[in-house]
Amino acid sequence: MASPSSPAPRQPLADFFDKAGMLVVLAILFLGCSLFVENFFSWANMRGLALAVSMTGMVACTMLFCLAAGDFDLSIGSVVACAGVLAAVVMNKSESITLGVLAALGLGALVGFINGFVVAKLRINALITTLATMQIVRGLGFIISGGTAVGIGLEDFFSLGNSAFLGVPTPVWITAACFSVFGFLLNRTVFGRDTLAVGGNAEAAHLAGIAVDRVKIAIFTAQGVMAAFAGIVLSSRVTSGQPNTSQGFELEVISACVLGGVSLTGGVGSMAFVIAGVLIMGIVQNAMNLLNVPTFYQYVARGLILLAAVLFDRWKRRKS
């Protein structure tokens, strides 16, 4: 895990609170749930919780880059579904796991590249662009699958989503790896720093010699590949490609990022924020399930938490 860059903390407490505001909330939340929610602090529940947030976590890594660059991507939920369906269909036809996975990743890359190209080169707003591809790709998923779930015949493939290493499910390992890799990418590479500069002021970045268009296209392409990969993992877990799955997933991912403190206007964000956001979201959901809160109320609660997080962030910023 790459830490947020803070080499010389001058005012330890203020700095700590500023940088780790949401991590504190996360810690308190975790402690509270452990003490007051029955069955929360058990190995089985922790395992389930981690597995439940693994997909959001993976895709949130690339969404962080998207948001940091001042854009966002609504098409990821559709890409997850379509990639899963495509992987299932190709595997069934070709009898090859590799081909199925490559086809799905290729689809994700293509959709992401188109998003990036239209946003960066043709200067169309990311909201409109990805709203359009979201519907197009959702439709493609239905077309490819014929409208129904596609069962996968290759059993070896199921181990990707259902195996475990050292007692921790493979998807959780993958998500942890994504957190480290993308955290490192954001903090320690020119690409990551350029991403933040582009989001902070695209024109200034351009005039400082940063290839703004290339950065944006790369980010969207990575986002597409990541969403497709999440779709593959999902299809492995449920042993089929589901064209209906992950509706509203994009908003869940963006919510988690914003909850952690990533700015929607670009230029501000770190992997620690994202991890905090993803985990807070997951813990709340998990606790509500354990407490048997009806689904309808869960929606209301999640919305309120997001709103509260954004207000807290604003309040914190005003104070500093």
Binding site: S6, T189, L207, G209
Partner: protein, 489 residues
């Protein structure tokens, strides 16, 4: 009032009289903007109070200040470009019945208000279509519709032409005659002495002096502002010019009416004078590759440069400090360190990918010290710095690169005398080290003070190139004015 790590204003007291124009001067970071923001209610002071017409007030909201008859006209106008002039004038209190706007009453009222300041603008014109000077007039009219009796101007002339400035001054004098109290913030000494009755000088957030302007001279004002004696802020010293300068031949592109050609030598400071909109910034952007040229070529030391993007230009050693620092120069939400290294970090990265943090820290620290940037640490967000210090960070960004040609577009706009003089010093040093320095400026004394040669642009073309010895204010202005007006005058 405190900024993170910096106390912006410390125990400042002075009074402004009705029917008088009160100038407020000080270097960047002296606390002028903070003072205006307190006046407008945007900031709440941590101590002290405003006394308006005998009544003690502390504003916690801009609406309170407006209600008390105080209006601040900022450099960046607070108007909605997508809406009509009339709607802008009455924004927030449109004449209405049951929530439906009475368009006729609105137009009539708008016309009356515009007449008050002698402007003949169709109230239904979209604000964004007006030139900047007229938008400023609308902003003044808007303040008057709110019944403002105390009007503060923050650098109102920074992007106006001379004629527009004259017009603005007429209106300000008129407001004074009507008994308004005017607070006038400017860095331009000539304006202060022409317009002002009294003056308050701030330095480092502290009150230095309030006095009748008649009791002061320009030199004493400058002395009080910087706290030391400035002999000649331009500090021009003749330099030897070498080969290997910038040659521009037949450059064409958006904003230029005719192909532009000029040659600036290494070690030379080459000025560009002209009115706003004469095509100077556009020419700079074309050389830098920020706009696409349609014809022509750029060479350095005889080598033709293939520049189609700013990155190509930077790699060839050509860099630009843009005119609009906030919009095109800085990344406000990032630190001084990141803004300094924004360009050079690409070259310094290990394997072209990994950030070299040691180098980044050292380089930012070095530039901050070299250019005397006032900031608590290099981790400070650049948006918390004053304009002059932001400009120094951008200069530091380019000093981190190997520069052959530096294009400076209005490098001292909105910057105080002290920082200006430092920036002139940096320009001299760059030229001495063999860099070809190109300076675009709308300020005659500046362009005459720093340049070895001066090109005058008029209506999208280079009208003339003069040697330092041949140039004077009158000549430059005559060349810069559009031909029709030159004949008429």
């Amino acid at each position: 009032m405190e900024f993170p790590g910096v106390k912006a204003l410390d125990d400042v007291s002075f009074d402004v009289h009705a029917g008088s124009i009160h100038a407020l001067m000080g270097e960047n970071g002296a606390g002028k903007s903070t003072l205006l923001k307190i006046l407008s209610g945007a900031y709440t002071p941590s101590g002290g109070a405003l006394v308006v017409g005998g009544e003690r007030r502390v504003f916690t909201d801009t609406a309170h200040a407006l209600a008390a008859g105080i209006a601040v006209i900022y450099q960046e106008l607070h108007l909605v470009p997508e809406m009509s002039v009339a709607e802008n004038l009455f924004l927030g209190h449109l004449p209405q019945k049951f929530g439906i706007v009475n368009r006729r009453a609105l137009a009539d009222a708008a016309r009356r208000q515009l007449e008050l300041i002698g402007e003949d603008i169709d109230p239904w014109t979209k604000l964004g279509q007006l030139p900047l000077a007229q938008r400023q007039m609308v902003e003044i009219a808007k303040a008057l519709t709110r019944g403002a009796r105390i009007i503060a101007f923050d650098e109102p002339t920074s992007s106006l032409s001379d004629r527009e400035v004259r017009r603005l001054f007429t209106i300000i004098r008129d407001l004074k005659a009507r008994g308004c109290a005017i607070l006038y913030v400017s860095h331009r000494m000539e304006e202060i002495f022409e317009l002002g009755d009294r003056i308050t000088i701030l330095r480092d957030g502290r009150h230095v002096e309030t006095n009748e302007l008649a009791n002061l001279t320009r030199d004493t004002v400058v002395q009080r502002m910087v706290g030391r004696q400035l002999a000649d802020i331009y500090n021009y010293t003749p330099r030897a010019h070498g080969d290997g300068g910038l040659v521009v031949e037949g450059l064409c592109g958006p904003g230029l009416a005719e192909p532009c050609s000029f040659a600036a030598r290494a070690g030379e400071i080459f000025g560009f004078f002209g009115l706003v909109g004469a095509g100077r910034s556009e020419l700079m952007r074309l050389i830098f590759g920020a706009a696409a040229k349609t014809a022509g070529r750029v060479t350095i030391g005889g080598r033709v440069l293939e520049i189609i993007s700013p990155r190509d230009a930077i790699e060839a050693g050509v860099v630009l400090c843009p005119e609009d620092r906030k919009k095109d120069g800085i990344v406000p939400v990032r630190s001084v360190l990141e803004n300094t290294n924004l360009s050079a970090r690409r070259r310094k990265a290990r394997a072209g990918v990994l950030i070299d943090e040691t180098w980044e820290q050292a380089n930012a620290q070095q530039r901050v010290e070299q250019l005397r940037v006032k900031t608590p640490t290099v981790r400070q967000l650049i948006r918390n710095l004053s304009g002059g210090n932001q400009q120094k960070v951008i200069l530091g960004r380019w000093l981190s690169e190997t520069v052959k040609v530096i294009l400076l577009d209005e490098p001292t706009r909105g910057i105080d005398v002290g920082a200006k003089s430092e920036i002139y010093g940096i320009m001299q040093d760059l030229a001495k080290s063999g860099v070809c320095v190109i300076v675009v400026s709308s300020e005659l004394p500046e362009v005459l003070g720093v340049s070895d040669r001066i090109a005058v642009m008029r209506q999208g073309k280079i009208a003339a190139i003069l040697d330092r010895a041949d140039a004077n204010e009158e000549k430059l202005l005559k060349l810069a004015l559009p031909l029709e007006t030159a004949r008429a005058s």
